[in-house]
């Protein structure tokens, strides 16, 4: 992947944005735009795209036949549904992230957030409450914050808390649990707690070279419009591709995995918590809808349901794919298991106190 660009013209267009973490190895700089050897192939991509579309239109009949099996239909429906549902929120997040990258000066965040990272983490975590959307919106926004020089620990706290504690999600939780209003409070407290602990943990243990500096052209020297739309295009193409991977995984689980094993898992209280935490990761449901699914898992304890609600918005297959795309695979491989473990611990702790 990491091959230095030979073309001298590319060199100055890849300076990382001011204030963003500097890459340790300069070789990573040219990562995004491909190397010389597949440059040739890439120039043919419109042709490839046209051929692909033509071929598929011509083969419509046989393809439809193969796809008419009930498993395939159900898979496709869930696949399309996850994407149709997530794309508007992704676009919202991408617009916001482009606006942050182009119109908000880096100095704004330096003034808005406390200087000491220890304090910046909870402030950023609480700020997550104002992003009205689900997890698809928070990944590009967190990426833009890092590029804008916000300390990664604070940006990560925001990334984890935003999809779980915003008013839309909390209202949905209240509607889904009419008999247990304490569930709303537990979700808010548990999610914020885990987000802050993860931020502080990153502050203590995290290393900058785990976090791939988000590569993208710098926008100085371009008009604001060009920079804004360039950022929108880049983020949609990038995060969108990873969203597709996540949607495929979620659709496979929904269409293929048997639902009856859940009944066995519900019998043991500890297994139940773990089972719902894993289910939250696999199902990758939008955080605005997960409360309703949790409410329907009637065999499970409230704490197990809380684990489902705390884990889901922080880490699931779709999010993992998107985080790997935005912050790098090395980051996602370390960050995801830590988030998963801490989210379960946080949910159990909050559940023990509040539920």
């Amino acid at each position: 992947m990491a091959i230095t660009k030979a073309a001298p013209t590319g060199a100055d267009s890849h300076e990382p944005v001011r204030g963003a973490p500097q890459p340790e190895e300069p070789t990573k700089v040219g990562q995004d735009n491909g190397s010389q050897d597949h440059g040739k192939q890439d120039s043919k991509s419109p042709l490839v795209l046209t051929m692909l579309l033509l071929l598929l239109v011509l083969l419509q009949g046989p393809i439809r036949g193969a796809l008419s099996a009930p498993v395939m239909q159900s898979w496709m429906t869930v696949f399309v549904a996850v994407l149709v549902q997530a794309l508007p929120f992704l676009v919202l997040g991408v617009l916001l992230s482009a606006a942050i990258a182009v119109f908000v000066p880096a100095s704004f965040f330096a003034r808005a957030l406390p200087k000491r990272p220890v304090l910046a983490v909870p402030v950023a975590g609480l700020a997550g409450a104002v992003l009205p959307g689900c997890e698809c919106a928070s990944v590009p926004v967190a990426g833009a914050l890092v590029r804008r020089g916000v300390t990664p620990a604070a940006a990560l706290a925001f990334l984890l808390s935003a999809p779980a504690i915003n008013p839309i999600v909390l209202t949905a939780t209240a509607v889904a649990f009419p008999r247990n209003p304490e569930m709303v409070l537990a979700r808010f407290v548990g999610s914020l707690l885990v987000a802050c602990v993860m931020g502080w943990l990153w502050q203590r243990l995290g290393r900058t070279d785990w976090l791939r500096p988000p590569e993208r052209p710098h926008y100085e020297g371009q008009s604001k419009g060009a920079a804004f739309w360039g950022s929108v295009r880049h983020d949609v193409m990038h995060a969108g591709g990873f969203l597709v991977i996540g949607a495929m995984a979620a659709a496979t689980l929904k269409a293929v995995a048997p639902a009856s094993w859940l009944r066995t898992a519900a019998e043991n209280p500890l297994v139940a918590i773990l089972a719902l935490a894993i289910l939250a990761v696999l199902l990758s449901i939008c955080s605005e809808a997960d409360a309703f699914v949790a409410a329907s898992l009637t065999q499970f304890s409230l704490t197990a349901k809380l684990a489902f609600l705390v884990v889901g918005p922080m880490i699931d297959l779709k999010l993992f794919a998107m985080q790997a795309g935005t912050f790098g695979r090395g980051f996602a491989l370390r960050f995801a298991p830590a988030t998963f473990a801490l989210a379960i611990a946080g949910a159990v702790l909050t559940g023990a106190v509040l539920l």
Binding site: T9, G10, D12, S13, D32, N33, G34, D42, S43, S45, P46, V48, Q60, I63, L67, Q73, S74, M76, T77, V78, V80, A81, V82, V84, Q85, L87, P88, V91, L92, L95, R216, P217, G221, Q222, G225, A226, W229, G230, R233, H234, V236, M237, H238, G240, G241, V244, A251, K254, A259, S260, R263, I285, C286, E288, A289, F292, A295, S296, T298, Q299
Partner: protein, 246 residues
């Protein structure tokens, strides 16, 4: 993927979202309330595609005009990774296949999601009742049929057959998108049509019966319905029950 191809994918994705949002196609996949956001995001994607083409064209012209001062707009920089190609898949699925709303296959794999409602709407005092699957099932199970006993009732849903071939009338209830859709089931008894096709929509008329069974998947309650007549009906505009969203 170079800029032209990216612009094409963005444009087609935006157009597919607009198409789904302006027709009733989107109701197969997501809740009705998402329509404005869907149309808005379709518009933004198309705008991003047009902006890409515009800046690409202007960049080229500038490059030709003033020698080679700027490197932006030159198609060889800022290429997106190969994962972007995956965006073609949902496009094809939505444009070429447009898969149907979830039906009997998913319904029989998932346990009934019937839950005790906050309360019941008042029913007309006389005449036949037109109830949804969810409404009938919750009145039958949690109200013990008090408000519907002895009345003529009509219910609409799609047919699903379990392994032994017993028929159910099902409606999927949805909160956000089809990934979280869950079935609510009614078991049918009485004069059932001899041939029942799974996934075909039926309007059954008949009466309440106190008989109940358990869903083998999650032990949830499934009430019975005594059928006197059944007529095939077209798939409703919104195939899902969205009453839980209000």
């Amino acid at each position: 993927m170079n800029r032209q191809a990216q612009a094409a994918v963005l444009f087609l994705t935006g157009a597919a979202l607009l198409h789904a949002g302006f027709t009733n196609l989107y109701l197969r996949y997501v809740k009705a309330g998402l329509q404005p956001l869907l149309l808005l995001s379709g518009g933004v994607l198309i705008a991003a595609a047009l902006a890409t083409v515009w800046y690409e064209w202007r960049g080229r012209r500038e490059n030709r005009g003033d020698g080679h001062g700027h490197d932006h707009g030159d198609g060889h920089v800022h290429r997106e990774p190969r994962v972007s190609w995956l965006l073609v898949l949902p496009l094809l699925a939505l444009i070429l296949v447009a898969p149907p709303a979830l039906g009997s296959y998913s319904a029989m794999r998932t346990g009934t999601a019937l839950q005790q409602p906050y309360g019941y709407n008042r029913l007309p005092a006389s005449g036949p009742l037109d109830l949804t699957v969810v409404d009938y099932a919750s009145r039958a199970v949690y109200d013990h049929g008090r408000s519907i006993d002895g009345r003529q009732i009509k219910v609409t849903g799609f047919v699903a057959l379990d392994r032994s071939g017993s028929p159910y009338l099902v409606r999927m209830a949805l909160n956000c998108c089809a990934a979280d859709a869950q079935p609510v089931k009614i078991a049918l008894t009485g004069t059932i049509p001899p041939v029942l096709q799974p996934d075909k929509w039926l309007q059954v008329s008949g009466t309440y019966t106190a008989k109940q069974t358990k869903d083998p998947v999650n032990n949830g309650p499934i009430p019975y319905f005594r059928v006197t007549a059944a007529t095939p009906v077209p798939t409703p505009k919104d195939p899902y029950d969205e009453s839980w969203n209000n």
